[in-house]
């Protein structure tokens, strides 16, 4: 290394010494190098995609083969990679590549409003359709069979992978949809390390999940089960086999040994994965309506339903995380909790006053040797209201800060007007005093009529 630096330094010094004494040499040499580069013909073919076209959505209500549905359709667009659909302001499905969708998670004679967002190379938000509403048919002899579909994996449509999805991201996001509203979603991923998670889908049946920790490298199976919250026997599952790739597979040594390890791992086929968690617990947010103001405490409640006898009555580290709607961890802390069968654990997490308002999740994880058991529950952070106008109307700190300029200007104008009125009133009072005094002086004869006449 040192020899290399010395040789390079010496060569550069010699080069610039020559250039110093003969500037023509330097310009000649640089010109030669430029032409050597410029003479090479490099053909680059690139297709620059345009911004996605705003989808124009057409919806038809139908009942085919005892299945009630709303059929969404819009034109194909070469500039769009995937589409996201929101129903009544909540995600319905994300990452689909087709230019249409059949929504079967609907009720008879109910109106739904849809917006379709086209996601292109420029990212989201550039082409959002106008909201379109449609009411389902009021008569249809429906047989509702629970369904579940995994729509996207690592922000790409599952269909677009064409086989087993292979990604570098060790914490890819899985998203899907079920026709069971507010379904209990159970996720099992493994092996070699296992992830078990339980959370709730939204009222549209949409769910998304990101592992709390990095996946191990190699092929694994993701199994998701949607359970009807009102009838636990009504459930449906689907699986996806995927692979986490290493970015640099050319190096030898430790990497190759770990590859060998991965190769030895028995990979279950899709649908075979059955992992029993050593602990079964529920997580709930106890704040009223799961709504909390910025700076307030989040009340978390854990109930240990069942625990393996090996871990019964022991202190286990539990990681609590607050995750925003984009999957970013905002707050995380670990506490040791005493795990006993039937125990109730209550914790308070203080949210900072600076946290942005919006939808969040609280995630609780318990990690065992090769297993991560987690639960997730959603809640909403509201802006702290500063002024109460009554009837549920509030003005928040954020609104005041956003319009501070106008507010200060208006208040200043009003204050000046008020001071002006005050001074005017005082001036009128002084004038009245003077008139009274003049009238009294006139009555006493101190002011003549001549003075009155000259006025």
């Amino acid at each position: 290394m040192r020899v290399h630096m010395v040789v390079t330094g010496f060569s550069l010094s010699a080069y610039f010494l020559v250039a110093f004494f003969d500037p023509g040499f330097l310009s000649y040499d640089l010109r030669q190098k430029y032409h050597a580069l410029a003479d090479d013909v490099i053909a680059v073919t690139a297709t620059v995609l345009d911004v996605p076209v705003k989808p124009v959505v057409i919806i038809t209500a139908q009942c085919v083969a005892n299945t009630l549905s709303l059929e969404l359709d819009w034109a194909d667009d070469a500039n769009t990679y995937t589409y996201d659909i929101d129903r009544d302001g909540l995600p319905l499905v994300t990452g689909i590549s087709s230019s249409g969708y059949s929504d079967t998670a609907v009720a008879l004679g109910t109106s739904y409003e849809y917006t379709v967002t086209a996601q292109g190379p420029m990212g989201p938000g550039f082409a959002v359709s106008d909201p379109v509403s449609m009411t389902t048919l009021s008569v249809c002899e429906t047989i509702v069979t629970p369904t579940i579909t995994l729509t996207s994996f690592d922000s790409r449509s599952v269909d677009s992978y064409g086989g087993t999805p292979r990604v570098f991201d060790r914490r890819p996001t899985f998203a899907g949809t079920t026709n069971i509203q507010n379904a209990i979603i159970q996720v099992v991923v493994g092996p070699p390390s296992s992830f078990l998670s339980e959370f709730t889908a939204n009222s549209n049946g949409y769910f998304s999940w990101q592992p709390p920790l990095n996946f191990a490298f190699g092929t694994q199976v993701f199994t998701v089960t949607a359970i009807d919250p009102d009838d636990s026997s009504r459930k449906v599952s689907t699986s996806l086999q995927f692979e986490i790739k290493k970015k640099d597979t050319s190096t030898s040594g430790s990497n190759s040994s770990s590859e060998k390890k991965t190769a030895k791992t028995v990979i279950p086929s899709v649908g075979e994965l059955e992992v029993k968690a050593p602990v079964d617990f529920s997580l709930s947010v106890r704040n009223s309506e799961k709504k909390i103001f910025q700076g307030e405490a989040l009340n978390i409640f854990l109930f240990i339903k069942n625990i393996d006898s090996r871990y019964h009555n022991t202190n286990i580290p539990v990681r609590y995380s607050i995750i925003d709607s984009k999957g970013n961890i905002v707050i995380t802390l670990t506490m040791e909790e005493l795990f006993r069968r039937g125990a109730e654990i209550q914790r308070q997490l203080d949210l900072p006053a600076s946290i942005a308002s919006g939808k969040y999740f609280v995630q609780t994880e318990v990690s065992f040797d090769q297993m991560n058991v987690s639960r997730r529950e959603g809640f909403t952070v509201l802006d702290v209201p500063l002024l109460n106008l009554g009837g549920g109307a509030f003005i928040t700190y954020a609104e005041i800060v956003n319009n501070l300029g106008w507010i200060v200007l208006t208040l200043l104008t009003l204050l000046l007007f008020w001071l002006f009125m005050f001074m005017r009133e005082y001036g009128m009072y002084l004038q009245a005093l003077r008139h009274i005094a003049e009238r009294q002086l006139m009555n006493a004869g101190f002011i003549t009529k001549r003075r009155e006449g000259t006025k």
Binding site: L387, N388, W418, Y426
Partner: protein, 102 residues
């Protein structure tokens, strides 16, 4: 709806502030019993204005509510005293029995 509520509340406070200014103007101009009556009226208007502004505060803790209600009650009492003094003055001017001008 929020803008409507905000506008109506702002108009209420602005009118209260104008009442204050004009009442103070009357206090400066008049004397004796009318002056006293309007002084009470000014204090009443002041208390009610502050109570109105306090009622907008969203974080209605016990202290805030206590101040709000206390100011409202005091404002109502001062308004009553002011009206009573004015009533006595009018009865005196009318020469009612027991209220004759000395």
């Amino acid at each position: 709806m929020k803008i409507l509520f905000l506008g109506m509340d702002s108009i209420t406070v602005a009118i209260f502030l104008l009442i204050l200014v004009f009442s103070v103007g009357i206090v400066w101009r008049v004397e004796k019993e009318l002056d006293l009556s309007y002084k009470f009226f000014v204090v009443s208007a002041l208390f009610l204005t502050v109570a109105e502004i306090l009622s907008f505060y969203a974080n209605q803790t016990l202290n805030v509510v206590l101040w709000d209600k206390g100011l409202r009650v005091s404002g109502a009492i001062f308004l009553l005293v002011s009206v009573m003094l004015m009533r006595d003055l009018v009865r005196k001017l009318d020469g009612e029995k027991g209220f004759t001008k000395k």
